[in-house]
């Protein structure tokens, strides 16, 4: 008991001088992409094992966690990495989702992998356009500009009713598992596997960017633009690249969402989605990919738990519709009150404390 209090007493100084990264020569033996692909393979193994022991419903929810994870990880690179706060990340998910739906409807012969690549290409183009237009904006001005994107884009789906299906959106039918897997995996399980395979590949790339020279350039720009430029870093171009990488991740996530849900509607991609994504990122922890994973779980499961709670308590539909947001807000406030660095920050502190004892 007395040792615990002793440690608590000296913790503040320890935390203040803790280096964010420790040198680890063993980790540097393999090139960055190889290390991240190995981690992605391990992640896929874990997800496969999870899918084997759970049912169809959980498979769909895990798929939702997967694409949300990718979307939030992209936002993390943009906000945490390059210091550009975007309140319009949901808009890129919408671009990806509608691209996917239109591809499936208009060009049904294309295989899924091709569709996903086209979805990425479309999102990259959108990212270049938005990133180039906003590269000179900082802080609240950038947030405001991206906010307009989140508010305005769903309106386009309403305006061009014939193409985007108005408020009813678009409905697509996606192929299930390939025939030779019949009986082994259900459609939902197959979809979850496809989602996680794609997501983990994307995350491996994101992690490579973030841990490598490009990520360091972004963090330098985030910390001090003038000093970064005087170190020879092209500030404007690097910020646009950060935007493009983030929008590619968001667009791919949206495409995967369309693939799993089989339907895209403008209301799915409302401003609330964009705000939820960034709030979840803060909740999970902005400094590491694990934080994005906890954030994705929070986005998916808090909503499910809230509607289950509303159902059990027999609350009216008005309450039921708004309870997820309320619950999310309460959890966000509580997490930030007690763990200012988010869930992942709390876990790291806990681990450091356990290691010391």
């Amino acid at each position: 008991m007395s040792t615990t209090t002793g440690q608590r007493a000296d913790r503040p100084t320890g935390a203040a001088s803790t280096p964010p990264q420790s040198p680890d020569s063993r980790r540097r033996a393999l090139p960055l992409p190889a290390r991240n692909l190995l981690a992605a393979a391990a992640g896929l193994a874990v997800v496969t094992a999870l899918l084997m022991v759970t049912g169809d419903l959980t498979a769909l929810r895990l798929a939702a966690v997967g694409y949300t994870f990718l979307a939030i990880a992209g936002l993390q690179l943009l906000v945490g990495g390059s210091g550009q706060v975007s309140l319009g990340h949901g808009a890129f998910m919408m671009i990806g989702a509608y691209s996917m739906a239109l591809l499936v409807m208009r060009l049904p012969m294309l295989p899924l992998a091709t569709n996903l690549l086209i979805v990425i290409a479309v999102s990259v183009i959108a990212g270049i356009a938005v990133g180039a237009a906003t590269a000179r904006l900082h802080g609240p001005y950038l947030a405001g500009a991206t906010l307009i994107l989140a508010v305005g884009l769903p309106g386009i789906a309403h305006r061009y009713h014939d193409l985007f299906g108005g408020s009813n959106g678009l409905n697509i039918r996606m192929a299930g598992a390939p025939p030779f897997l019949d009986g082994f995996v259900s459609t939902s399980e197959w979809q979850a596997l496809v989602v996680w395979f794609t997501v983990l590949l994307g995350l491996a790339l994101l992690a490579t960017v973030s841990a490598g020279r490009l990520g360091r350039r972004m963090r330098a720009i985030r910390d001090d633009e003038t000093a970064a430029a005087m170190a020879g870093i092209p500030v404007g171009r690097t910020k646009v690249v950060a935007f493009v990488v983030a929008s590619a991740a968001g667009g791919l996530a949206g495409g995967l969402q369309a693939y799993v849900l089989g339907t895209v509607t403008p209301s799915t991609f409302s401003l609330v989605l964009s705000l939820t994504l960034i709030a979840a990122l803060v909740l999970g922890g902005i400094a590491s990919l694990w934080g994005a994973l906890w954030a994705a779980f929070a986005v998916v499961y808090l909503e499910i738990w809230a509607s289950e709670l509303a159902e059990t308590l027999n609350l009216g539909s008005d309450v039921q519709n708004n309870l997820p947001l309320v619950l999310f807000g309460v959890v966000l406030i509580l997490v930030l009150r007690f763990w200012p660095l988010g869930v992942q920050g709390a876990l790291q502190t806990l681990r450091a404390r356990m290691r010391r004892s």
Partner: protein, 279 residues
């Protein structure tokens, strides 16, 4: 377009900068030869930092031309000058607060990496070798500046004198040909200024140095050539001895004598210039 051995590294001619109606610099010229230390002095508001920002490419002059190694520099941005071999420090240090000391210096070395956009985005190609080389280079710089023990600390947790060394290491790690130092002695103790003077002389063996500084002792000791600015104009240039003897310089720092003597009369307070204080 080869630079001759005796030619100037950087030549600024007729640099004029106007902010609206205010003329911050008025037809200022400056030559920096390789291996020399040029001091840029003048009272507060004389335009020293403005000239520095022009030289480092942060600010585009309203008029005037810059020549780097004999070739005119057309449209300049800060990262272009850095890539060409101009490094600078800042009065406020401008370290990256959330990067470790090591990473601060690795960023300074970034321009020496070989990989192009492909390796940057995919982490393939030159990336792995680049990262190793940048780290080795940064570590060597940390060691030569005597701050290797702080490599994994955040700059904000270190004493000011150490932070200054981090800023110098970040500027020097890419082995620039021209180093611009913005008030390197400010906030340092007497001993630290001594050490800094030796450091600057050591720099000048490998690169040219331009120095903005209020610490006159330091300027007179390390500079080969001094340019004095006042109200955006060059009022004197020459060796430390010549500048110290120049009455115009004394007038700029201390004003004209209050006893009604004419503006072009010799200044009466010569010795005050060398005592190392800001006016």
């Amino acid at each position: 377009m080869t630079a001759t051995a005796t030619g100037d590294l950087l030549r600024a001619e007729g640099i004029t900068v106007r902010f609206g109606g205010l003329t911050a610099l008025d037809a200022v010229g400056l030559d920096v030869a390789p291996g020399t230390v040029v001091g840029l002095i003048g009272p507060n508001g004389a335009g020293k930092t403005t000239l520095f920002n022009v030289l480092s490419g942060i600010l585009r002059p309203t008029e005037g031309t810059l020549t780097w190694k004999g070739a005119p520099v057309p449209s300049r941005r800060a990262h272009h000058s850095a890539r060409a071999g101009i490094a600078r420090t800042f009065q406020g240090l401008n370290l990256f607060p959330q990067l470790t000391v090591m990473d601060n210096v690795v960023v300074g070395a970034d321009r020496t990496a070989r990989g192009g956009p492909f390796s940057l985005i995919t982490g393939l190609g030159h990336h792995h070798a680049d990262e190793r080389r940048l780290r080795e280079r940064a570590l060597a710089a940390l060691e030569s500046f005597g701050i290797a023990e702080h490599a994994h600390r955040l700059p904000g947790t270190l004493p000011y004198g150490v932070q200054k060394q981090v800023a110098l290491a970040r500027a020097c790690v890419s082995e620039p040909e021209l180093l611009l130092l913005d008030e390197p002695a400010s906030g340092l103790s007497g001993d630290q200024v001594e050490a800094l003077a030796e450091q600057i002389r050591a720099f000048s063996r490998d690169m040219a140095v331009v120095l903005v500084e209020h610490h006159m002792d330091l300027v007179m000791r390390v500079c080969d050539h001094i340019v004095v600015l006042d109200f955006g104009q060059v009022i004197a240039t020459g060796t430390p001895d010549e500048v110290q003897a120049d009455p115009a310089v004394t007038r700029a720092y201390l004003g004209t004598p209050a006893d009604g003597s004419t503006a072009d009369g010799p200044a009466a307070v010569d010795p005050a210039l060398g005592n190392g204080d800001t006016p």
